[in-house]
Amino acid sequence: MAVRVQTEDFDAGAEIAVLCAASPEVGACASFVGVVRARDGGDGVAAMRLEHYSGMTEKACEAIVAEARRRWRLIDVTVIHRVGELAPGDRIVFVGVASAHRGDAFAACEFIMDYLKTRAPFWKQECTGRGSRWVEAREDDDAAAARW
């Protein structure tokens, strides 16, 4: 299990290859990649800054992964979340889940993302032509996390 919070980009293909090779039991790997939108609502986004609470972020992500492991039969999990300055099109987050069968991998991957969005202390600030603004938390995200 790996949780990494980093400024550098990641290679999703390489991360998936590591998960697939985690054990001879692996029969499925589900993954998610979040990307900075070039347009959010009406305004073009020139850049995004991701702030986090160093220390608590890692603990919160590890707790989410541990909860996923309690709920599903998982072989390995990788969570990577970038922080700092990002540009439109940049990758922000990677979640990869390896399991023996696809049902566990699909469900756990979505669960981890839903929980990350509502429980891990990251904050997005968008820079648009009209200045910078903090992204507002979305009620949809709370609803998505609540269904688990």
Binding site: G34, L50, E51, H52, Y53, G55, M56, K59, H81, I92, V93, M113, L116, K117, T118, R119, A120, P121, F122, W123, K124, Q125, W134, V135, E136, A137, D141
Partner: protein
């Protein structure tokens, strides 16, 4: 009791500081009491009273308003998270 307080994102900007250390009066024993104590500074600090769904953590774990404080705690105030 001495504690360290951290502020993040829009709250950090509104308050003009990322953190501070503070000696608490005896009467401030919970994270909610601390929030009200800080609101009492007035001016920009009133943001701690009007931030919708203000989140609080003690020693890097999410806390409830009634969570007790003890000497040496690291307390954090922040808006709802928006990562992922």
């Amino acid at each position: 009791m001495a504690i360290r307080i951290l502020y993040f994102a829009a709250l950090r900007e509104a308050l003009g500081r990322p953190e501070e250390s503070m000696e608490l009066p005896e009467s401030v024993g919970t994270v909610e009491a601390l929030r009200l104590h800080l609101c009492g500074r007035s001016g920009a600090w009133e943001v701690l009273g009007r931030t919708r769904n203000l989140r609080m953590a003690i020693n890097q774990e999410m806390a409830q308003p009634a969570s007790p404080l003890k000497d040496g705690d690291e307390v954090a105030f922040f808006p709802p998270v928006t990562g992922g």
